[in-house]
């Protein structure tokens, strides 16, 4: 690593970089996490990516991380301190870190930043996200087949496009195989809060839901389903295999390791440029956890076939005809959604009840 002098323009403070001396030749990679690394979901998988970077590069790399960093002013400080400590590349792994990442990146032009799930880029800020909605399509298919009460509960986190996309994708594919299916959606307004998630799962089960999908990161809904006995769940962000083969019948796994290794390599080679990455099952960023034997063999076969079709691009999870909730046409027969619309998705598809809170 080269010794460098940083000029934080806003503060106009120049810092001679003594800290770099003991990190000679090592590429220092920082990670800012929104939850604890032991959340068993979102942050857990990002941390696995970090460990994969360490395992892959060995002595050539040093990683640091900070967990449970609140979004907002605190995250800006954490990132600045990370940059000051000599990090060459910093991954900020939650949507709410978007503006802070841009602010800090402007002060440290020599440090590369990678922001997950956002949309603001800069010369030294890349964005990356995964097409989780592809996994949701497979989940929706299995859920539609597995439900006996025709009621599917959905624990949503925040009303942002990523979450809305997941709800729509799951609903479309559940409805396709089970026209009577109904979705009940609970907005938990958290990414990780086992108590809240357990309450939400309990409420959904009491309303008669026998399949629960979640876009929150803890295993609390799995535990609630296990206690109820007859409720199907899916692992979210991480495999959550400890709840298999039932209630957890499958999962969406975020696999960040290949991307992280790629990007660290790019920094080492000096080939890093600001990019926008949105990969799905095909590129391996989204993986489907093993579908357990609790799922009938024919359903499992259909799900795997859909996984292959999504992977090779022969099928798009949003293929028309699809109407918006108000009945207007969104996608005509055979038309597929464009990335721009998907990225900013703020509407439900036809058949979903209730409103997106705002």
């Amino acid at each position: 690593m080269k010794r460098r002098t940083l000029l934080a323009s806003a503060a106009a403070l120049t810092l001679a970089f003594g800290g770099a001396a003991f990190a000679e030749d090592k590429t220092k990679v920082g990670f800012v996490f929104v939850g604890p690394v032991g959340d068993g979901g979102w942050t857990y998988e990002h941390n696995k990516g970090r460990l994969a970077v360490e395992a892959h590069f060995g002595d050539k790399v040093e990683t640091v991380f900070q967990e449970s960093v609140p979004e907002g002013a605190d995250s800006e400080r954490v990132m600045t301190q990370m940059a000051l400590s000599g990090a060459d590349l910093i991954f900020t792994t939650s949507f709410g870190y978007m503006d802070p990442t841009i602010n800090v990146a402007a002060k440290f032009p020599d440090v590369k930043f990678e922001h997950a799930t956002g949309y603001k880029q800069a010369d030294n800020v890349s964005v990356y996200s995964a097409r989780f909605y592809e996994g949701r399509a497979i989940q929706g298919h299995i859920a539609g087949k597995m439900t006996k009460t025709n009621k599917i509960g959905y624990i949503a986190s925040f009303p942002i496009p990523e979450v809305i996309r997941g709800i729509n994708s799951a609903y479309i594919h559940a409805k396709k195989v089970n026209p009577d299916v109904e979705f009940s959606i609970i907005w938990a307004y958290t990414w990780f809060d086992p108590a809240k998630e357990a309450d939400a799962a309990q409420a959904l089960i009491e309303q008669g839901a026998d399949v629960i999908l979640q876009h929150t990161d803890s295993t609390a809904p799995q535990a609630a389903a296990e206690a109820a006995g007859n409720v199907v769940t899916f692992g979210q962000a991480s495999d959550m295999a400890e709840f298999g083969p039932f209630p957890r019948v499958s999962s969406i796994i975020d696999d960040w390791a290949p991307y992280y290794i790629d990007r660290v390599q790019a920094v080492m080679d000096g080939t890093w440029t600001s990019t926008s990455t949105w990969d799905g099952i095909g590129a391996g960023m989204v993986a489907i956890g093993e579908i357990s034997d609790a799922v009938p063999a024919d359903v499992k076969a259909e799900a795997l076939a859909m996984q292959d079709a999504l992977a090779d691009g022969s099928y798009h999870a949003f293929t028309g005809p699809i109407n918006k909730q108000d009945g207007t046409v969104w996608l005509a027969e055979g038309e597929t959604a464009d990335d721009g619309t998907l990225a900013g998705m703020s509407f439900y598809v036809e058949g979903l009840t209730g409103e997106i809170p705002n």
Binding site: G18, V64, E67, A73, R77, M82, L84
Partner: protein, 361 residues
């Protein structure tokens, strides 16, 4: 046999000493915890308490950050400490902070993109009024119906959070934000931005207000009739009544002041360090301020020092977690110990330890 004996008078010495004893005990027990986690305890303690102030690598950045972090804590703690002195337990400063931020940001965004020197003062006013109004709910309910202000103000925090979620994905949502929740960034709107008064000092208008609030509270409590009435209400409510203090007035005053200060803190935060209204804009300042208020002995100068100390443990804790890989939970535990030891050693203010051979009856 060890037993506690009530002192005839609260000990002056211990009143002053317990915060320091608590800090030292926290260092010792926290150090043992860090050692058990496999980190060098001396290095960890040094990073937490020393490096943010004096490390070559970080101090130039983290020293101003101390003010940024301590500002809202002090401002809120000053407000609620008045109530605590009068026996009015406003636990819901977090809610008043949120509503103040929403009102302040809303006022600023209403003018977007106009540029005028009047916008920022109007935002401060809106923030203060918002927090005040939110605090008036438990005040009115308490005076009119005798409800418990602890419960009402606490519950209103959750109402405020729901309201925050609503406006950040609705009313105040950035029209250019591609459908994502969160308001425009006020840092990029010069007329509404809460900038540093001196570049690189961390001293933004909110920090200045916090310092002014400390002076104001000090004068009020020690030199003014109203301050006397507040203290009297807390220490001897019946005597206060006989002395002609109107309890309803004290309730309105204490809750109102706390609300207004918390609201201003929220406004300064959203217009400055945070920049925008987002779904989880609040990060617990309103609750941490309760610790600050007690750590500072409900005394304005004490609160000033306690706020700075708390900020130090936050920033130092972050550094320790970054440099040594100490888990975030351990840092929180460390901060929790501080309050625990403070409360535990507080017992020596009113009691003394007696060692006696005979069994006490």
């Amino acid at each position: 046999m060890i037993r506690l004996e009530k002192r005839a008078q609260p000990s002056k010495l211990w009143t002053l000493a317990t915060p320091f004893v608590a800090v030292v005990l926290t260092m010792i027990v926290g150090g043992i915890m860090f050692a058990m986690l496999g980190s060098d305890p001396f290095e960890a303690i040094r990073i937490i308490f020393w490096d943010p102030l004096f490390s070559e690598q970080f101090a130039a950045y983290s020293r101003p950050q101390l003010l940024v972090k301590a500002g809202p804590l002090i401002l809120i703690a000053i407000g609620i400490s008045m109530g605590f002195k009068a026996g009015i337990w406003n636990i819901g400063a977090e809610g008043q902070y949120i509503i103040g931020a929403i009102c302040g940001a809303g006022m600023g965004l209403a003018f977007y993109p106009a540029e005028s020197f009047i916008i920022f003062p109007l935002m401060i006013l809106a923030g203060a009024l918002g927090g005040w109004a939110w605090a008036m709910i438990p005040a009115v309910l308490k005076v009119r119906f005798g409800t418990n202000e602890i419960l009402v103000s606490l519950m209103l925090v959750y109402v405020a959070e729901a309201f925050l979620a609503s406006v950040s994905s609705g009313l105040l949502k950035n029209p250019d934000g591609m459908g994502f929740p969160g308001s425009r960034n006020l840092q990029q709107y010069p007329a509404a931005a809460n900038l540093e008064i001196f570049q690189g000092s961390g001293m933004h208008w909110g920090v200045l207000t916090a310092f002014l609030a400390v002076i104001f509270a000090y004068v009020l409590l020690s030199r003014h009739m109203l301050g006397f009435q507040i203290r009297l209400t807390g220490e001897a409510p019946r005597a206060a009544k006989f002395a002609g203090v109107n309890p309803a007035r004290i309730v309105f005053l204490c809750l109102g002041m706390a609300g207004a200060l918390a609201g201003m803190a929220g406004m300064f935060e959203v217009a400055g360090p945070a920049g925008q209204i987002t779904i989880d804009f609040n990060s617990g300042y309103g609750f941490t301020a309760i610790i600050v208020a007690f750590l500072g002995r409900l005394h304005p100068v004490g609160i000033l020092l306690a706020g700075l100390l708390m900020a130090l443990t936050y920033i130092g804790g972050e550094l320790a977690s970054l440099m040594l890989g100490i888990p975030g939970a351990a840092i929180q535990l460390f901060q929790g110990m501080l309050l625990f030891f403070l409360l535990a050693t507080d017992v020596f203010i009113n009691f003394r330890i007696r060692l006696s051979k005979t069994e006490a009856v």
